[in-house]
């Protein structure tokens, strides 16, 4: 199992460690629900150094990538970031990614569990193009600060860059804890305002400690993957391996905002299949809520009468909504908000109400 440069820090903090995507990661430092509330109300610090990070340079980087990913890379303004996917020919998703368009490079952030497969896929499909592809996962650390006090916390350790000038889904470079040229983006996976930062992994512990100290006055806590999963689910964000996979298409997952059929983008892998699905979808990813005691959990059958109509993708106890929530794919006929369905718990039934996603949006 791989370890991030902060592994011993997590252990010292008393984190419970679990395997995630081939990495030994902190799932929680304290009660998960407290960690969720801390991010919703204050600020939280996440070690995301397990996520895969690739840098593409070379004259063809944009045109070549536009044949592989669903995003229209050529139309992303410099210093902006877009969500997108890597799909197979049949439209099934191999991964979902963030695409950072730089002046001289394109930077991709991918899921830890898919890093190797993405690398192989990119290499195969970039062959022949004037592109150099570099895996920066080991040399860069990745941390996230999320929550309303993340601006104030991060600004304490960042010189020569006014964080308020970085818009949502935009990035900049600044001097962080004395490290020059650190990539800082206003992105995240929690539904809160916040930042993700990328810097020399050899400096991980020093930067982590500086952020813990800078955030102390705001009530900052380290946040594990358990709370991260609840936060993203409340915010209606998909997780690879749950809402999206090789056998699910991103159209029915509601991810059309990350897919470009613009004719100037040209053809790309999966375009035809996804165009057909878009014209004639049969299922939809919806939210489900329940007033019952049990939380929806991955794999639970979703029932209408005696008929199984779907399956739960993710579920959580939501402290923000004070309800148990989940996601499920259901046929379009059952996708209207307010539709009553049930989940099957080894023969027992519990009522679910279909809800639009997201469950939670921050007031801006």
């Amino acid at each position: 199992m791989q370890q991030t440069p902060l592994h011993s820090v997590h252990e010292r903090l008393g984190a419970r460690m679990v395997e995630f995507g081939g990495w030994h990661m902190p799932v929680q430092y304290g009660p998960i629900l407290d960690e969720v509330r801390c991010v919703r109300e204050k600020v939280g610090l996440f070690d995301l150094s397990h996520m895969g990070r690739f840098r593409l340079t070379g004259a063809d980087r944009i045109s070549a990538l536009d044949k592989i990913v669903t995003t229209f890379v050529g139309r992303i303004p410099v210093d902006s970031i877009r969500y997108g996917l890597i799909c197979q020919e049949d439209g099934g998703a191999l991964d979902d990614i963030l695409v950072y368009r730089g002046e001289e490079d394109v930077f991709l952030v991918v899921n830890a569990s898919n890093t190797e497969r993405d690398m192989a896929w990119l290499k195969e499909h970039l062959a022949g193009a004037n592109v150099s592809l570099e895996d920066q996962t080991d040399e860069l650390a990745m941390l996230a600060l999320q929550g309303q006090d993340s601006v104030a916390t991060l600004q304490t350790v960042v010189e020569d860059l006014d964080l308020l000038t970085i818009g949502y889904y935009k990035s900049g470079f600044g001097t962080l804890c004395g490290l020059p040229n650190v990539r800082v983006s206003r992105t995240g996976y929690t539904g809160e305002d916040g930042f993700e930062i990328y810097f020399d992994s050899g400096e991980s512990e020093r930067v982590w400690n500086a952020l813990m100290e800078a955030g102390a006055q705001y009530g900052l806590k380290p946040i594990g993957l358990g709370a991260r999963d609840t936060l993203r689910l409340e915010a209606g964000m998909s997780l690879y391996g749950h809402e999206i996979s090789e056998t699910r298409n991103p159209i029915e997952a509601g991810l059309s905002f990350g897919i470009s059929f613009h004719e100037d983008k040209g053809d790309w892998i999966g375009r035809d299949a996804l165009a057909q699905i878009k014209a004639n979808p049969t299922n939809k990813l919806v939210g489900v809520t329940t007033d019952g005691k049990r939380a929806p959990r991955e794999g639970y059958p979703v029932m209408s009468g005696d008929e199984q109509i779907g399956v739960v993708c993710s579920g959580a106890i939501s402290p923000t909504l004070s309800k148990n929530i989940g996601t499920a794919y259901v046929p379009l006929a059952f996708s209207e908000a307010g539709t009553k369905v049930q989940m099957d718990l080894r023969g027992k039934r519990q009522d679910l109400t279909v809800t639009d996603l997201p469950f939670y949006s921050r007031k801006r």
């Binding site: 929680q28 009660p31 005691k293 939380a295 959580a316």
Partner: protein, 131 residues
């Protein structure tokens, strides 16, 4: 050391002979795996109805924490004759008094025999290997 007046399953249930029946619970290790020392993370425990017949190895219930659901497996075959009424509304009893008031069900068996289960020393080794 855990109590040696009972036997343990590799799936972290404990079983204690009491007359012609067997009392079943789950171990401190199982509870810690579920809630990592935060007993508030335990949210629900689904236990069977009195009168239900269970087979050895069969799932007789589920326990749920904020992040996970675990099956409860019957270490013996028999009839559920009593269910701990305290657990439904007071899950914390599982952590507070794991070996006593935190029992879950009582199963009546024709010839209660727990020889197939681990004794306290063997369970200790089993748990150590799991870490």
């Amino acid at each position: 050391m855990r109590p040696d007046d009972r036997r343990y399953a590799t799936t972290h249930e404990w079983a204690k002979i009491d007359g012609d029946s067997v009392i079943i619970g789950i171990t401190d290790f199982a509870i810690d795996e579920l809630c990592n020392g935060n007993e508030g993370d335990l949210v629900y425990c689904d236990l069977p109805e009195v009168g239900r017949m269970v087979e050895i190895g069969e799932t007789f219930g589920e326990i749920e924490s904020v992040k996970a659901v675990s099956d409860l497996q019957a270490p013996i075959t028999g009839e559920v004759v009593e269910v701990n009424p305290v657990i439904e509304d007071h899950l914390q009893v599982l952590a507070e008094d794991t070996w006593g008031k935190g029992w879950m069900v009582r199963i009546r068996s024709k010839a209660p025999n727990l020889d197939h289960m681990l004794d306290a020393a063997a369970y200790e080794e089993h748990v150590a290997a799991a870490h």
